[in-house]
């Protein structure tokens, strides 16, 4: 009994010591959680004494944690909303600082045997709103279209809704799945299916080339097209801080935006920032920009 007590004491002391060594807590996007963890791993290895904790939960969860003060950095695969900005200002009297850290593209997945090779954003929108219901209407086989989407708590969902649906609504028929892996899994098995998710996750499915409208060029979901922002569904992956980052958080951010951090982005399967490697070039040396 007594021994158990002393073990508990030691554990508590240790926990105290760890939390005293200013840890940077990062929370948010499930799309970015692997990226964040790789960054944290390498950063802690190369910076002895630094402690970085990364958890997922979804972009909104991360931003909520930032607002509550339970995270130093929110990872988000979508831009922060006006509502959330106002809330942060309201609760903590600091603006949200937006830091693009990497780039990603949303790929449109179809079954391998689906003959449809390309779509315009307009067609995609009609499909997801339930106006186009048969693959034949976009040059495919005579099959009904089965719609798959991410759950409404994901940054990918918000991004798709904004870019493809122009803030309109998904067809009520559209099925909501948890995580990109489930969508890829379903689409790989179903000739009627269409789904969307990260470009990195295309095992077993085919992606469709996209054009902004019927008069513009089609671009495949490839690394080069995303990095050049030519692919219509390219996006930034953000970090958000509450007010200007300082101390260990600031050091970490500088490192992430630097060549070492950006090389990890590519290794994890996302795309480095177009202007990466130029940190500190801006007049004030500030790598972040404030948005209000």
């Amino acid at each position: 009994m007594r021994r158990a007590c002393s073990v508990a004491w030691v554990a508590m002391l240790l926990a105290g010591a760890v939390s005293a060594g200013a840890a940077v807590t990062i929370k948010g996007s499930d799309t970015m959680v692997i990226l964040g963890q790789r960054w944290a791993e390498v950063y802690m290895r190369t910076h002895p004494g630094a402690v970085v904790q990364v958890t997922g939960g979804g972009s909104g969860t991360g931003i909520a944690a930032l607002i509550n003060g339970s995270a130093d950095v929110a990872q988000s695969s979508r831009a922060i909303s006006e509502k959330e900005k106002a809330e942060l200002l309201d609760r903590r009297a600091v603006p949200a600082i937006e830091i693009p850290t990497a780039m990603d593209g949303i790929a449109i997945y179809v079954h391998k045997d689906n003959p449809v090779q390309r779509l315009t954003l307009h067609q995609l929108r009609m499909i997801y709103q339930g106006d186009i219901t048969n693959w034949r209407q976009v040059g495919g086989a005579d099959l009904e279209i089965a719609l798959y989407s991410r759950e409404n708590n994901s940054g990918t969902f918000a991004f798709f809704k904004e870019r493809v649906l122009a803030k309109g609504e998904f067809s009520p028929e559209c099925q909501m799945l948890q995580g990109t892996a489930s969508i890829v899994n379903v689409v790989a098995k179903d000739r009627q299916a269409i789904g969307y998710g990260g470009i990195g996750y295309t095992k077993g499915v085919r992606t469709v080339a996209l054009a902004t409208d019927s008069s513009s060029e089609y671009y495949a979901a490839t690394q080069d097209n995303v990095a050049a922002m030519k692919y219509p569904l390219s996006r930034n992956l953000y970090w958000y801080t509450a007010g200007s980052p300082a101390g260990p958080t600031r050091d970490l951010i500088d490192w992430v935006l630097g060549p070492e951090g950006q090389s990890i982005v590519t290794k994890v399967g996302y795309y480095r920032l177009p202007d990466s490697g130029h940190v500190g070039d801006r007049p004030d040396g500030d790598t972040t920009r404030s948005i209000r």
């Binding site: 939960g57 979804g58 909104g60 969860t61 909520a64 607002i67 509550n68 509502k83 959330e84 809330e87 709103q129 009904e144 089965a146 759950e151 409404n152 708590n153 969902f157 918000a158 809704k161 803030k167 309109g168 609504e169 998904f170 009520p172 028929e173 559209c174 099925q175 909501m176 799945l177 948890q178 489930s182 899994n185 379903v186 098995k189 179903d190 009627q192």
Partner: protein, 337 residues
Amino acid sequence: MTPPQMKAPGSHLAGSAPRRAFPLRVADRRRDQIAHRLIGLAAFGTIASIILIFVFVGKEALPVLTSPEVHKEVTVGQMLEKVEPRPGKPKTFIWQPVSDVPKYALPPLVLGSLKATLVAILFATPLAVGAAMYSSEFAPRRAREFIKPVIEMLAGIPSVVLGFFALMVMADWLKVLFGWKYRLNATTAGVALGVAIIPVIYTVAEEALRAVPRQYREAALALGAGPWAAARRVVLPAAAPGILAAIALGFGRAIGETMIVLMASGNAALWTLSLSDSIRTMSATIAAELAEVVHDSAHYHVLFFIGALLFVVTFLVNLAGEVYVGRLKRRLSGIAG
């Protein structure tokens, strides 16, 4: 240290001290008292935590009824109203909380929960009651000692595992079997849910069947009935209230179950009666959206409102089931005695 005293017969019962045959040593008695207090505390602590959860959920749900802040976005009336999904489209109930104009229609979620639960009950009841009849009436003792723990072990399968199985494997089988458009739907989720509630129904039904006094069977057999006729015509009707209670408990478990429906139901909130359409249940909605929601927003309170609904429904159904089982046991033992 003195050698431990012989315990008086019956002293292990939680009786009061004077009833013991001879007094315990003071140290023993004190230890006894401390133990009593501790386990008493555990019991009341458990009850208190249930009440606290109830109060907490209720408190977070209440603004849906009272707060003008929430009513700017949604009222209870609007939660029961049909709207046009887009101008010109037929009106229907829509659940789209993440939207420029959030829509919070509850009927599809309630219907979704009921559809999945109905399928689960329809799937699980015959299997569970059949198994219960076999193991209580027909199985040799050895077989029973094998069947009972194995079925009850089903209850130990984490629901996330069942959900995963339904999502990856069962959905394919059922889609091929029925030729559905969507492989994830009310039936897929319901069948997986059924697997989860089989042990609940089985355990209670088995108990109910075994509680039927032996004299019933003997009387039936003496009158010339075969074992099957005796079981079906005499034992089963006698245990019927208990079996009903078993189904009620299974219902309570199924309607609150979250992980399976979250993974295997497709999560599209449709207002249709078809069992091959996707559903979005109340529990899965809370699980999918609560982590993301802005604290104190209308959406947040609506989710707690759904939680409170779910809590009340499961509580009432479970209560009814428990009361029924208790009453049945008393009645049967009364008759037997």
